[in-house]
């Protein structure tokens, strides 16, 4: 696993502290070209690992990567799925199964694949929840075909709702499907890391990869920082840190020194949009990690 990963929240107007900042970012990155410029800058600074949501624009980025295999020969992707906001309204409108139907059957290749098992009609098919999950994963994975995918993450809202429901099969089957069909490891994004780690271990997933907010002020760390530190020190898993600067509330050096002080953290995901910030952050992480 890579020590330093560039995240993508800044490209999609996601900021957990300020809607003004989010707006400014959404304006700056309205087209894929502006996003690519930042990715190229990071790549030229020596960053090879990138975490992406399965946003429509990421599909366009992936097309670009495939078109220029030499430029991105060493690129390593850490995608997170699904991009939840595209599902949210349909779920409110049509319920979970209505939404699943809509998304599963919106995809032509899925329609084809499903054709063979559709003898009993849509109803019988959607009763097999795990099969639906596998098809949704396949639909989302398509944008990364031919690229070097290291770890596929389950997005945090989905992870945390499923964790709340305590349905072990979802976690086990998600991991099994990606490992078997794509030969990639799975990870889980969460806002509730301590609870999730114990649950994953309980599911029998060995040494799981768990990516969560980890920062000096305890922002987006439920239930509290102490539980995070205790779990990192006592459980067998691979922690990854994101939101290390708490959306800008903690200055970079201070933020990184805290995270680097947690010895078991494997990877640090950070967001930045300028060469200066990317270079500086990378340098501080490398210094602090020595």
């Amino acid at each position: 696993m890579d020590r330093i990963i560039l995240g993508d929240n800044q490209f999609f107007g996601i900021n957990h502290m300020s809607e003004d900042k989010a707006q400014a970012q959404a304006e700056r990155f309205r087209d894929v070209g502006a996003i690519l410029e930042v990715i190229d800058t990071a790549y030229d600074c020596g960053i090879r690992a990138f975490m992406f949501n399965t946003h429509d624009k990421v599909a366009q980025l992936c097309d670009h990567f495939r078109l220029h295999p030499e430029r991105y020969a060493d690129l390593r992707l850490y995608p997170s799925m699904p991009y939840a906001h595209k599902y949210a309204n349909v779920v409110a409108e049509k319920g979970i199964f209505g939404a699943l139907n809509e998304f599963v059957f919106a995809d032509a290749s899925v329609k084809q694949a499903v054709g063979t098992i559709l003898r009993g009609g849509k109803t019988v098919f959607t009763q097999n929840m795990m099969e639906v999950m596998r098809l949704l994963v396949d639909a989302e994975m398509k944008m990364f075909r031919g690229l070097n995918v290291k770890v596929v993450f389950l997005q945090n809202i989905v992870t945390d709702i499923l964790l709340g429901m305590r349905v072990k099969e979802c976690f086990v089957e998600f991991a099994a499907h990606l490992e078997k069909k794509y030969n990639v490891e799975v990870g889980f994004n969460t806002m509730n890391m301590p609870k999730l780690v114990d649950f994953l271990l309980d599911c029998g997933l060995e040494n799981p990869i768990v990516c969560s907010s980890i920062n000096k002020i305890g922002y987006l760390m439920s239930p509290d920082m102490e539980s995070y530190e205790e779990v990192m020190n006592t459980r067998s898993f691979r922690p990854m840190a994101m939101s290390i600067m708490a959306s800008g509330a903690v200055p970079p050096r201070e933020a990184i020194e805290y995270v680097a002080g947690q010895k078991n953290i494997r990877s640090i995901v950070f967001g930045a949009s300028s060469r200066k910030n990317i270079e500086e952050t990378k340098k501080i992480i490398e210094e602090a990690s020595c």
């Binding site: 502290m17 409108e93 979970i96 964790l163 509330a249």
Partner: protein, 340 residues
């Protein structure tokens, strides 16, 4: 341990369930949902009792409380039955589709002495809690004007089917989305005595409105405007913005931050004359379990805490839900008169 049940296992039902399912004092035992598929999967993967009729669930399961998260048109009937069964009730917003039903439910729940709450979750947002405190401390002097704006990318093309496009089921921007703004105004500023110039405008929807605008009037000369548009493709998710103008200052707040401007010396410690920006990272308190936002956990834990501590007053009671419904009815009537 409190025994809980849920009626309506859609997007909000799921969210509420996952937040409360690992509350140390809660044991969910039953789910009622209209979908046969949903019931089968809940039974298979979660081992809960499932029902297609909430009355049977209330009769059979010996529940302490229920979460009602069905489309609005069914709230009144479901909540009335829950009160008859002596259950504490959390019901999603908006409260009821007409204020006559709402008044009956308020009377019934108060008579029964049960904990009651409506899911106006923005009341539990950390920024708006701070804004409420600032006003309670008279930080910006006498209010003379406010502006509440809400935007969301909810409806971006013509919609003909589903409960959201049916007025009789509680669809439309006014009930489904603008109700949050109406309630937040009631909570932070107070209840308007009248509304004027209300317009309910269709944009993509055929049978319901997509945009709501109105002016709210108060006895003491205060006025404010509410503008809500759920056809805004430029937003990533729902956005709330409230501006409050007082004789000594001004506040601009959204879900993540607020700015306060003081005309002269601020009356509170920790602030300076002129602009002061405060971000959620500076004052948010962590929650026990996080799904979709701090406020979702905060409102449910507040509800459960009310049952455990026998608290009778509520930060967002049925009476508050009724008050929002009454303003919504005023807006509807005002808009109808205008278009006649």
């Amino acid at each position: 341990m409190l025994k809980g049940g849920i009626v309506g296992f859609g997007r909000m039902g799921l969210t509420h369930f996952s937040i409360l399912n690992n509350h140390p004092e809660v044991n969910f035992v039953a789910v009622c949902d209209a979908s046969n598929l949903m019931r089968k999967n809940i039974g298979k993967f979660m081992g809960l009792e499932t029902f297609d009729d909430y009355r049977t669930m209330f009769d059979d399961m010996g529940l302490d409380f229920v979460i009602v998260a069905t489309p609005t048109a069914t709230h009144a009937e479901t909540v009335a039955s829950a009160i008859d069964h002596g259950l504490h009730v959390f019901v999603e917003k908006p409260f009821a589709l007409n204020s006559d039903d709402g008044r009956r439910l308020v009377a019934a729940v108060e008579q029964a002495g049960l904990v009651n709450q409506v899911g106006y979750v923005i009341r539990f947002n950390d920024v708006f809690r701070e804004v409420k405190k600032l006003l309670a401390a008279d930080a910006i002097g006498e209010l003379y004007f406010f502006r509440m704006e809400m935007f969301a990318p909810t409806v971006l093309k013509e919609v003909k089917s589903g409960w959201r496009s049916k007025k009789a089921q509680g669809g439309g921007c006014l009930y489904d989305f603008a109700s949050h703004g109406v309630d937040l105004i009631n909570y932070i500023v107070g209840r308007p005595v009248a509304v004027a110039g209300s317009v309910l405008q269709n944009i993509y929807s055929v049978a319901v409105e997509d945009l709501v605008s109105t002016t709210m009037l108060y006895d003491d000369g205060l006025q404010g405007s509410l503008l809500v548009n759920w056809c805004d493709a430029s937003c990533r998710k729902p956005a709330y913005r409230m501006e409050l103008y007082g004789k000594q200052g001004k506040i601009i707040a959204d879900l993540h931050a607020y700015k306060v401007h003081f005309k002269g010396e601020p009356p509170l410690d920790g602030f300076e004359s002129g602009w002061n920006a405060r971000y959620i990272t500076e004052f948010v308190e962590p929650v026990r379990y996080y799904v979709r936002g701090f406020e979702f956990t905060r409102q449910l834990d507040y509800f459960i805490d009310g049952i455990l501590t026998d608290r009778r007053e509520s930060l967002c009671s049925f009476a508050d839900g009724l008050a929002a419904d009454e303003v919504i009815e005023k807006i509807t009537r005002d808009a109808a008169e205008r278009s006649c």
